[in-house]
Symmetry: C4
Subunit: 198 residues, 4 copies
């Protein structure tokens, strides 16, 4: 089926993005005696790495739950998917920026903007599926969308709050990003058979 090609390509992109994140954690270049101190100073980078790893993992997961409902794809769907991937492949940049400038407002804001853009594109794809029932196995109807809207609204609202607080309480911004991530992970972990055979 045609959508399998797009899924394979998408899987490949996610696998590479999630693996490339480690390349931004450069080994310190110090005297062996100060290696411990240098590594301890890298803890913000490690935190950002783990956060970004699970962010990408979560997007991969939700991508598959969307893809599961898709029967066939058209040209517009390919390009919507590409825009989604654009915001995902960009992730190593804000991740590296945040790791390098841990408590600076601009990196926190850029990180949050990328999170929101990825989410919004995902929602646009859902809307497109609603308008093209011939592409879907399951009907993406108003009822399903109405159930999704609060999730998207809360998620993006918290991200937006994180961006706004970046200039005043950067630690809270980190905490907000991490909390949303954790909440979404726990939510998806409860799914009984998330990638069932079609």
């Amino acid at each position: 089926m045609g959508k399998q090609r797009l899924e394979a390509f998408t899987d490949g992109v996610y696998a590479i993005v999630i693996t490339l994140l480690i390349l931004d954690i450069r080994i310190p270049n110090v005297q062996p005696a100060s290696l411990g101190t240098a590594l301890a100073g890298m803890l913000p980078q490690v935190f950002t790495y783990v956060l970004s790893f699970f962010v990408v993992a979560l997007y991969w997961f939700s991508h598959h739950r969307v893809a599961q409902q898709v029967k066939q794809i058209d040209g517009t769907f390919v390009w919507l998917n590409m825009v989604w991937l654009l915001f995902v492949t960009v992730m190593p940049f804000p991740a590296a920026l945040l790791g390098r400038y841990p408590l600076q407002p601009i990196p926190i804001a850029i990180y949050g903007v990328d999170l929101i853009l990825t989410n919004v594109t995902g929602f646009v794809i859902l809307l497109y599926m609603k308008g093209h029932p011939d592409l879907c196995f399951t009907l993406v109807d108003s009822r399903l969308l109405r159930r999704q809207v609060p999730v998207y609204a809360v998620t993006n609202g918290v991200y937006a709050l994180g961006i706004a607080l970046a200039w005043y309480l950067p630690w809270i911004s980190y905490g907000l990003y991490a909390s949303v991530l954790l909440a979404l992970m726990v939510r998806s972990a409860r799914i009984p058979n998330p990638l069932a055979e079609r």
Copy 2:
């Protein structure tokens, strides 16, 4: 089927190229206070990144539309496909060059030459398929080729114009590349079921 192996390999290469592009956008190494200015100065790089992302995406898309017509492959087809991939895997270099030297003629020209070489190889593959109908599902006949020729001619003509103008009006060169890309994206977005099951 044998062609699936080549397609999987090709998909992998495309997925990696499109994801590697972000590695060329290095995070600035400045005082936090000048981070905003430093990031603003990276806008040409960001523009080149987005352009290159969709260039690679478009080549992946057209690769699949060609692959869809292919039933089986022979040794020559494998090597023609490899030459095609060579020009695609090269893309991160002109992209990085263009991002580093935004309005310089040589990077613009090299970028355009790579676009043309990739296109020409794609067309050579179509010609090869025309000469070997046993490899194809759909006959790549003169009628189909005649429909494709103007697209290739206009595309490469505009790229060549962009190369020539690089020494005089670099902004126009950028604009020409981006316009062709956008036109081809819109054109392919209209395809009803681009990657249908075979």
Copy 3:
């Protein structure tokens, strides 16, 4: 089947990690006359590279032997698998650190800690499979676990010994890591049909 998507993603991550390891072996930047000496000085890095290559290969192998027993997956399984991948994707960092600071205790310890964390996550996944027989083809029963426990215990015990000795006899630590790896490789090489069709 749903688990195939997770397997494909996991395969991709492993393939990228094992290939990225070479990026940490930077070519020396010296006068041609001193190139031989410079390359000879890189032997510890080469040793670490080969060690890490086979470590990742071994984890890929055991991943597949686990995946073979899995019939379907649920949300928690996806996240356990992601944690496993986290510790695998991290590997290029301790590998590069160990190559750059060959006989220093901290890099040896970090390397060993990553080995143990990956192993422990693998064991947690086995425990999860034991508790969810509906996810498995073969029952992961107490008998099978009892057979695996000594392997995990010895492996992690030797790694822990390697970590402890890093501050006193770093060469022995290296030797311990390499010996466990070799023993596990020989053990798995004896498997008659390790990735049989299901």
Copy 4:
């Protein structure tokens, strides 16, 4: 089938290696006025890049022709395949070294040694298949091996000659590597259906 997992992993590794090669071609950091000269000075690197691209492509091709004959795999086969991949994933290092020190004997020799090691491992795999007919579709018999031996002997002989001449006539070494590559590419291009379905 179990071998498909190993093939997918192997395909992934090849796709990444062939794409990573471009990362070693760093963009020059000069004044725009001297960009032309700087890029012209990179021609040896470009030559090495193209050579290495087709070397990896050729190994991928021969890997698949071997894999085609394989019905199922055992533990030893997995590890022989891993050793093969080790020498392939190493390739970006000698390629970068050769690009950085174009006419120096040591890089040429290391490059040739890697080519020979990859070839020899491929031949060992053939021997293993001959000894384990239960793993193969087609019998890898003495007749087939006898047909392959001269190819391996000539290929590795020429590579060895290239290594020896590296200290006296480095240009000839380059020429020898490139000629063998070209001869093997032409030979494989003539295969009617190299990746046929099994």
